[in-house]
Amino acid sequence: MESRHQATEIPVPQANPEAAPDAPQAESVPLIFLSADETAGVCDPNGECY
């Protein structure tokens, strides 16, 4: 199955399990999306799922 990697500039948490078990620390790290199936389902804040 073909996959694609796509970098974005969204600030994401830098997980630091020992220091913050409940809330990852936010740092500006490019988030890399791993998508393998375009038909995979998502529901959005409007309540729509596709």
Partner: protein, 227 residues
């Protein structure tokens, strides 16, 4: 046992998951991630943490609405289209062992249910609680906004019913829900389920097991090189 990796402190790999109780693909994504963890050879070194997301924050908290009715009358989907969409989700869910009964589902504001998941988190049972909430909503047709119903569900997963009911009535854990929502906004999350692996890799949606395995392997390999 996959459930061992949920609700415990992280060792080497942390998976942060944003989801909503009323999100059909979140239920699916949770099951698919669990299946991936069953196959992941380093599952004992993974911790999964659940975060709240509200798909329909404007829904009333004190009145449950037939889901198909909601989709057709308030969201503009022709009833036939809504039922067809639900049937497709149910078919895919059945393939991975989930029993969706959309004809029973009643939509309600899920903030209270999320507060309960944070209550359960304190006892290390957040994942069991979330799984029970998914089943309550999608299979049992229960009102997951009703305090007594939620307290019953808490008891089913081994939590103290009276303590759960007291927490729900007091409004406890609303700050935790808000913190999760703020965090989601900060990340730019526009849909759920949304999975972040070690704060670097993201998987959006109910992806196949292989996608979760790839994310687990990729992030774990990087973690290994750091240590």
């Amino acid at each position: 046992m996959t459930s061992d990796v949920f609700d415990r402190s992280a060792d080497r790999l942390v998976v942060d998951v944003w989801s909503d109780v009323m999100c059909p693909f979140c239920y699916m994504g949770d099951a698919l991630l669990a299946q991936a963890l069953e196959r992941f050879p380093h599952g004992s070194e993974v911790a999964v943490r659940y975060h709240s997301f509200l798909l329909m924050p404007d829904l009333p908290a004190d009145r449950a609405i037939d889901l198909v009715e909601l989709l057709s009358t308030e969201r503009g989907f022709p009833r036939e289209q809504a039922e067809a969409m639900n049937a497709q989700v149910a078919k895919r869910g059945k393939e991975i062992g989930l029993d969706y009964r959309f004809d029973r589902a009643v939509a309600v504001n899920t903030r209270t249910a999320h507060r309960l998941s944070h209550f359960a988190k304190q006892a290390g049972r957040q994942h069991e609680m979330i799984q029970r909430l998914f089943r309550a909503y999608f299979t049992d047709g229960l009102n997951v906004g009703d305090h007594a119903t939620l307290a019953d569900l808490a008891a089913e997963v081994g939590l103290d019913r009276d303590a759960a009911l007291s927490a729900l009535k007091s409004g406890a854990f609303d700050d935790d829900v808000e913190a999760d929502l703020r965090h989601a906004r900060k990340l730019g999350i526009s849909g759920v389920p949304f999975f972040v692996f070690n704060g670097k890799y993201a998987v959006s949606g109910a992806q196949p097991v292989e996608a979760f395995l790839k994310a687990l392997n990729t992030s774990f390999a990087e973690t290994s090189t750091v240590h």
